[in-house]
Subunit: 172 residues, 2 copies
């Protein structure tokens, strides 16, 4: 139940509405844990039902602002410190690689080139983001920078791998 904990984690910083959290997901958190509008609103309702967050304010247009409770913070700490992360991930990109043999070598190389291109583009975006943000030494900055560095290293690795892989496919 990671979405639940992602929401609790975001509410540590400051209270926020479903809409606010949706924005955060679609920008910063989308890379590690995509979530849809339906999912976020639904999960917030459940979180409030179980007392991990409370509706602390109501604004115009039916806006509900959620605040983390002590129980919510305790649950977040419990999740982080006392449960094991699920380490395995699904990669459709890599799954396809296994089956490239059913395509022509040209098509297979095309696929790998396209992967390299996407990796390069994403790397550039992350590098721009890295330059744009002014990194303080607060928690958010420290761990945000660590996560971003992961992205930079990951996309660099992907690009190099895809370029190498292309050379491994026999030429027609």
């Amino acid at each position: 139940m990671s979405l639940r904990h992602a929401l609790l984690g975001l509410l540590v910083e400051h209270p926020a509405s479903g809409y606010d959290l949706l924005k955060t997901f679609s920008t910063s958190l989308a890379n590690v844990w995509p979530a849809t509008q339906s999912q976020i609103y639904g999960e917030l309702t459940k979180l409030a039902d179980s007392g991990l967050v409370v509706v602390s304010d109501q604004g115009p247009r039916g806006r509900k602002e959620y605040t983390l409770t002590d129980a919510g913070l305790a649950e977040l700490r419990h999740w982080l410190a006392e449960t094991e992360p699920q380490r395995s991930t699904r990669s459709e990109v890599l799954l396809r690689v296994f089956f490239l043999g059913v395509l022509t070598p040209e098509q297979a190389r095309g696929y790998l080139e396209s992967l390299a291109g996407h990796a390069t583009a994403t790397h550039a975006e992350l590098a721009a983001l890295h330059d744009a943000v002014d990194w303080d030494d607060d928690n958010l900055s420290v761990y945000g920078r660590i996560a971003l560095e992961y992205g930079l290293r990951f996309t660099a690795m992907q690009q190099e791998w895809a370029e190498w892989a292309r050379t491994q496919v026999r030429t027609s």
Copy 2:
């Protein structure tokens, strides 16, 4: 619908039963696309209903052997060549990094050290696998080796990143 295509992809090589495919998933494919027994049996039934595979043989103990049809191969090729892979993946490991600030620096470093350890161990397993297999130059070998190389590079990157990240967390 990647599971569907993963099954079609495996059936390209040779006919297999649900049980055979389950073994393949739990060994080789589990790293890129984990699947449970329930899911595989259910999906094979649907695949047979839609004519992408056929039950080509029945063995002892109710064993059903599935064979890829022309329609199935066409569908696999279509998926590979004419649809875009979903590039984003969920990473609970990385999601947690964003929230390490709610733990003590000691706990945060502990988490990162544990990630480095797991990455090292997985890297070693993959390296052993790489040495154990004798790589031919057929399609399976070429693309299997490419996928394995991805795993090696990925786990190496993760380990280096986690070790670097640990140094970024202020000491108590």
